[in-house]
């Protein structure tokens, strides 16, 4: 349209100038003819430009294509950065209130077609003294064998139960903390290094999923108390070597009797050996042999519209020493369970949550019963504000009995 305007202006200029010519000087016929020929050439060029220019509609189509074009759409290799982070505030009766940084956990995904994916999560935390600590939460190479099976190799989150493998990210966990016994030093295994087969398949109308693994297994810590050794804990956090050469085999089977309800059973079996002394000298250990190591678990998860209810039980049993080692001769059992309900209020962004946990340990200082009630506000579905109050019941004078108020902002990306 602008070009047409220019042509009209040129024509008008020509007519005006032609009309005013007699008042100034009278150009010759040849000069006028020459000017006319020049203008004809100019007009032809403008016409050509007009024909070659895009219409508004064509421009709109191009704009849309540019806006929706994906950089990686045609690539066989895809790279994606995901993850989560949280910050918060804690106040309890026994300690001064403080703002705190939870953790920053970037997750890397590298995928080649539908054949293989490398996924890894880092866990970057700030210690109380301000030091930054980085851990490798998991790193696996996932081979998509077929529609019903994938091979997961590397350091993987334990498939025993649901909390560790599915619910621990702060933007997923509806509470500000993990249930007692499901953290990094509890009854439930955290991660392991080995090979895992997992997948899903339908049985008639019923959906099922499964995970089976073989791994290095955990290591045991011994404590020295009242003049004698006793088992202090199980470190099931993915050791990069298998000190006793004894492997652990385990897994989980899940079933969906109907949409919205999942039931799961987990188990692991193998051997584990005492390799360290809590806050002590490891050189005092001698003659340690591998002990029996068994885990069983059960979990459920029920969704009904805006209401969800889930629960989980895990028991870890370590056998007695039968080899005459210097560490604890007796075995020990850790068990924990929790149930958690959540309700999204109407069409609002508020969610009410409550959880009860009972953690039993061989050590009374670790035993804990805990009620948590709270309210979440969903700024978006992956950016959540939480306010929790914990009612803790544990050994008198220990941290396990201190009630706490916690605020948290969690963001998953």
């Amino acid at each position: 349209m602008k070009t047409r305007g220019k042509v009209k202006a040129a024509m008008l200029g020509f007519v005006v100038s032609a009309a005013s010519l007699p008042a100034l000087a009278a150009p010759s016929i040849e000069e006028l003819a020459e000017r006319l020929a020049g203008m004809q050439v100019e007009m032809d060029i403008l016409k050509q430009q007009l024909e070659n220019s895009a219409t508004k509609a064509e421009v709109q189509v191009v704009k849309k294509d540019v806006a929706t074009a994906g950089e990686w759409q045609q690539a066989d290799t895809l790279i994606h950065l995901a993850g989560y982070a949280d910050v918060g505030y804690t106040d309890s009766a026994s300690a001064d209130s403080s703002f705190n940084l939870g953790r920053f956990s970037p997750i890397f995904h590298f995928q080649y077609r539908d054949l293989v994916m490398l996924e890894s999560e880092l866990e970057i935390e700030l210690e109380e003294d301000g030091q930054t600590v980085t851990n490798l939460e998991y790193l696996t190479v996932d081979w998509f064998v077929n529609d019903y099976m994938m091979l997961v190799a590397g350091k993987f989150l334990s498939p025993v139960g649901q909390f560790r493998q599915n619910l621990h990210p702060s933007w997923v966990n509806k509470m500000t903390s993990a249930p007692p016994g499901f953290g990094h030093d509890g009854a439930a295994p955290v991660s392991d290094i080995g090979f895992q087969l997992r997948g899903a398949f339908p049985v008639g109308e019923v959906r099922t999923n499964y995970a089976v693994y073989i791994s290095n297994g955990p290591e045991l810590i011994s404590g020295f108390e009242d003049g004698e050794f006793e088992l202090d804990g199980v470190e099931a956090e993915g050791f990069n070597t298998d000190g006793d050469g004894e492997k652990v085999v385990g897994g989980r089977v899940g079933i969906f009797p109907f949409a919205g309800l999942e039931l799961g059973l987990s188990a692991a079996n193998g051997k584990a050996t005492v390799t360290s002394v809590e806050d002590g000298d490891n050189s005092v250990l001698g003659g340690e042999v591998a002990r029996d190591y068994d885990v069983i678990g059960a979990d459920f998860n029920w969704q009904f519209r805006k209401f969800s209810l889930r629960g989980e039980y895990v028991e870890t049993q370590v056998g007695a020493d039968i080899g005459g080692g210097s560490a604890a001769s007796d075995g020990a059992t850790w068990k924990t369970w929790y149930t958690q309900g959540a309700y999204r209020i109407g069409q609002t962004k508020f969610e009410l949550v409550a959880r009860y946990t009972d953690f039993d340990s061989p050590h009374s200082s670790q035993d804990q019963k805990q009620w948590v009630i709270g309210t979440n506000y969903l700024f978006s579905n992956s950016f959540i504000g939480k306010i929790n109050y914990e009612f803790n019941d544990g050994l008198s004078g220990s941290n396990a009995e201190q009630d706490r108020l916690q605020l948290q902002l969690a963001y998953g990306f």
């Binding site: 990686w72 066989d76 895809l78 077609r113 539908d114 919205g260 079996n269 068994d294």
Partner: protein
């Protein structure tokens, strides 16, 4: 006694693992047509039944098409999905992540054009039921109760059709209804038919 239970449970688990391995590893295949298209309708159902098991539903517009590929394949392992369910959910999310169109006025004139062979009930059950539920009361948080008095369906047909065609984002809500319910294959006539079905079935 307890040890016996432990050992029995693990023996069963071990045998089940071997059985699975024998059956499943015989069907090794790769998708040469990557990313292989899934079924939109099955994907919407699988999405609504699986994702909220652990976390709040992510809005399909949260990620681009290519980002959804890696996210959904990651979730295949986490959520225990089959390869087909993975492709179906991916197809649904990639079809539903178009931004809501901002149309002045928003109302669209209803025509009496009849839909093709597909019935309005079938369209609803294949495209809308995942979020709005079989009874219109919504099946996931963030979607309105269509049966509510003076609720969404109290709007004029022209405005509702405009919202269905162009998509709708309730101010402040985390979830949007994608244009044409995420299924670009649905014609205006299909959407007119499904609107009439929804009003007849749920509007009090």
């Amino acid at each position: 006694m307890k040890n016996l239970v432990f050992k029995s449970a693990n023996r069963v688990l071990g045998r089940a693992a071997l059985f699975l391995l024998a059956i499943l590893v015989t069907n090794v295949s790769y998708g040469f047509d990557f990313p292989e298209a899934g079924n939109f309708s099955d994907g919407s159902k699988a999405w609504s039944e699986n994702c909220a098991r652990c976390h709040n539903m992510r809005n399909p517009t949260d990620l681009r098409d290519d980002q959804w590929i890696t996210s959904v394949f990651h979730m295949r392992g986490r959520a225990g999905l089959t390869g087909q369910e993975t492709r179906d959910i991916l197809t649904f999310l990639q079809g539903s992540n178009a931004r809501v169109k901002r149309v002045e006025g928003g109302a669209v004139k209803l025509t009496e054009t009849a839909s093709d062979d597909i019935s309005a009930k079938h369209i609803y059950e294949s495209n809308c039921i995942a979020c709005h539920g079989a009874n219109g009361k919504s099946s996931i948080p963030g979607t309105p109760d269509l049966t509510a008095q003076n609720g969404r369906l109290a709007k004029s047909d022209a405005e509702l059709l405009g919202n269905i065609i162009n998509g709708f984002q309730t101010p402040g809500n985390s979830m949007q209804m994608p244009p044409r319910g995420g299924n670009a294959q649905l014609s205006d006539a299909d959407l007119v038919a499904v609107l009439k079905y929804v009003k007849a079935s749920f509007y009090k």
